[in-house]
Symmetry: C3
Subunit: 280 residues, 3 copies
């Protein structure tokens, strides 16, 4: 017997009211056996980019076949597609097709995507409600799929992977002794900034652990930070309050303040506006 | 074999310290097989009204027989009753009888209620502690009940459903072209305000999707908001920052600021003091 | 067949990004059958003392054999030991050996401790990453241990329990009518302050429920609070806003403001600097 896949949820709902509770109740009412895990319910509100990044950040640590339900959905109830994607690695993502698949498509690959047929895969008792697709459409459809009540084909019609809504992703550039990229995301808990520069690229450009490269951070081209910073393996190599360049958990270059918040202290953000340059 | 029911917990404890962890440990020590789900541990502190509303908000999405443990309990350790209620739909609620059953009693119905017999259904190792009934009484008793170690009758003595402590609930009024109600609760995450007016009543009064009714909000009779607001199916029909009247997830009328927080921006609260009127 | 133990996690990661999700994915990839429970992911950042206290606070409410994974780890990636401890009661703790075992060692006792052998018990796919031992070392090793893939002996080499890193713990003193101690921890949610004084000691010194002892709080010897406060069984015995001395959930003396936050209002902290004295 094939085991039913785990359902991993991520949303911007928080646990402050009853939304997550109702959504999980729907899943358990479809199939009591389904195993539900919290990915996060504290994604930044309406921040599709973060939803996209967080899916990519954790996906490949889960068993093949795991079903991710991602609901950051400012366009809920409009004509943006609701979809189920199957990745190259055999994971499933149930999500509004609003950019949330950007990083998964780029880094892992989407093999097939289908638009959820609301006439068949929507919770019947809530017809008339258009504001809570997490509960009525994504959660419900994901539960049916994970429980085996419907096949992937029965989700709805297939459409071209090329039609998936994606944000542009900037690529880092590197030459000997000079690496440029962006802050692609932060760690909102510890205030660390994560670049889009693979550590491998950084090392190939000539930087070594123990070096103190110059870090230059620009916002829309205006310099906001210029400092020599230690490049080391982990935070414990620097003193509390010092900056450090490090290899982050996805093997990209990060910049952090040891036991402090670089993001808050230096008022740094992420996205295409936030470019970063490393010089010897 | 009858499957053991799921336990769904809601409290105002947060996960900031070890209380939830200890409470869940007690449940697992009673019966390792019991399945625990978080409803919420971020209810507003001491806010029995929210506890009552959140139970009602999610209950019927769960499988029949689900055991809800609700612990918002400013009177812990005093003579307020600790009880277990069985609803008309076959759900169980383990809670202080302090108003937490108000919405469930009104909207779903309580078939029977019993006072927990502390002499038999309290965690023996914590005798002397009076401040943590979530762990020592409600969690422990719920676990015994869900595991089948005690029957509903063995919880303790039955008392009249009429004796259940309830808050007064105000009813909305509607005539052709005029609907009055209160803000009954908010969505503290997105800052949306939920009225006690069923969308069906609103539509019957003559309002249609696409209309722009006048919304008047009063606090203790003093006008605090007067605005024409679009009535639509979902947030995506309005621009970011605009107000919208919509059919919320419980099929009541809500008012929201699209991708913003109406509650914070307009400093709105909920309860009997916060009346709202809709005019053509 | 012996049932696989539950894994209880506590960290300072929060759920704001993908770290917890990735860590749990690793566990489920090791063994789909493992049951994961959240202890807390909202411990104060870098606060090893809180990590130590929270382990002790909840441990003995869980079934024997439960595996606790505690990751508050400001020294991640340096030469602090990563260890697995087996307690006298048969619990397992997987943690950096950085002081996190202080309270468990004192109050419960550690029978044996082993240093995790990274060459065998580290997630192979993340070699090169030094900043996320929660995912790559502690979570992974705990999963292997709980699943039975490795024995306790196969964790790594044993070392002396005497070498475990511990904070000093101050002891309370009591004579007839006078009890001295410290605020050892707070309840960051409700703002209650917990002393290190067992209620038994307090009662033996002559205080009785219903009394109004004098409470004197000093910070580094300077008086910051002096007040007569009711000593009662629970919060409901005092009015909202009043202070109360009470027997807390670990049967130590606590001081609280009823339905308020004593910690915030009186700006109180905890630790060796915060001494408290009770007089008749």
């Amino acid at each position: 017997m094939i085991r039913k896949p785990i359902l991993v949820f991520q949303t911007d709902f928080t646990y402050k009211e009853g939304a997550v509770c109702a959504m999980y109740g729907v899943v358990k009412s479809v199939d009591r056996d389904l195993e539900i895990m919290d990915g996060s319910h504290e994604l930044p509100q309406y921040d599709i980019w973060s939803a996209s990044y967080r899916l990519y950040q954790s996906m490949e640590f889960w068993p093949e076949g795991t079903v991710f339900v991602s609901v950051v959905d400012p366009g809920v109830g409009t004509d943006r597609r609701a979809c189920v994607a199957r990745t190259r690695g055999g994971y499933i993502v149930v999500t509004p097709d609003n950019g949330s698949l950007t990083h998964v498509e780029k880094h892992i690959g989407v093999a097939e995507v289908r638009e959820i047929d609301e006439s068949r895969n929507r919770l019947p008792s809530t017809r008339g409600v258009s504001v809570f697709h997490g509960r009525d459409l994504f959660g419900y459809c994901a539960a049916k799929l994970a429980s085996g009540l419907i096949s992937f084909e029965e989700v709805g019609s297939s459409y071209s992977v090329d039609e998936i809504v994606k944000f542009p992703i900037l690529e880092p550039t590197a030459t000997r002794g000079k690496v440029n990229g962006i802050f692609e995301i932060n760690d909102p808990n510890f205030g660390n900034m994560w670049t889009n520069i693979p550590t491998e690229v950084f090392l190939s450009a000539g930087f070594s652990y123990g070096d103190r490269p110059q870090v230059l951070v620009y916002r829309k081209g205006a310099l906001v930070l210029k400092e020599r910073v230690l490049f080391e393996r982990s935070f414990g190599f620097a003193q509390k309050g010092e900056l450090i360049i490090y290899n982050n958990e996805l093997m990209n270059i990060g910049v952090a303040k040891v036991q402090g918040s670089l993001a808050s202290d230096a008022k740094l953000g992420f996205g295409a506006d936030w470019t970063v340059e490393f010089l010897p």
